[in-house]
Symmetry: C2
Subunit: 165 residues, 2 copies
Amino acid sequence: MSTDEFGIRPGEEMASLPATFDAGLHFIGRLRTPWRSRSECPKNGLQTDALCTVEVDAAYVPGLRNVMGCFHLIVLYWMDRATRGLLVQQPRHADGPRGTFSLRSPARPNPIALSVVELLGREGGVLRVRGLDCIDGTPLLDIKPYYATTDSRPEAQVDRAGAPS
Amino acid sequence: MSTDEFGIRPGEEMASLPATFDAGLHFIGRLRTPWRSRSECPKNGLQTDALCTVEVDAAYVPGLRNVMGCFHLIVLYWMDRATRGLLVQQPRHADGPRGTFSLRSPARPNPIALSVVELLGREGGVLRVRGLDCIDGTPLLDIKPYYATTDSRPEAQVDRAGAPS
């Protein structure tokens, strides 16, 4: 945890997290992006045309079979620098504090992030993609095919200021 | 791991997973659904109209502030009965083995599943939703707002038989 970049702001609320974990994760690779710090990162993966790569560790490369049949992927990754346990937080550009589960902020009890990416190509364990927004070197957790039938909700709305309680 | 329901089939490939984990997860609640076994579960959350609930543990309820401003949510959960380390698998209805990262199967090195759900209401720490497809009691990991701008790709395609290597 890097408190300089990812610390607590006035009005925010922390939970005390349990001392032990309920399950464990294996990092299966790394994401390679042009961004070295949180401040350099785009707000989301559509605000950039940057080519990024998903580097899958050799032990997991057999799992990439058939993946080039997917035009879009869901990439799950671990926001390893994020503060955990932040339940109410003050986003930089919001007029008041927001519940963590109403935000896509990396700070959350389980800092798993997801991005929908366009798959451009594959060389062995390396996928060329567009649509990531995270810091270079971010640990990879999972890759899934994106299905328009179940994952796409073009009509979805969010009233970001709404429903405070 | 329950090998009777979630075992290995001919043609499948396992990885030997590392003996230690790289990061840990806190279960923050449970998903309540009508389904008691994998065979009862719908193939995906759009194949059912069942009302389900997301039960958030008391310690994490402050994080639900503002969540009713979202019409759709992304729910991340832990497939705690899945075989981990299965890299090539034979889906029941496919004509050959498939790489794990080309499938939404629960069996994967980090068995994190995600569903896009419609948010119907909230009473305290309980969210009423439609669109889950998992076994009753499945551990909850995270809740995120669904943004059409970044998460919806109505044009996305998957060629499930394609690109074997």
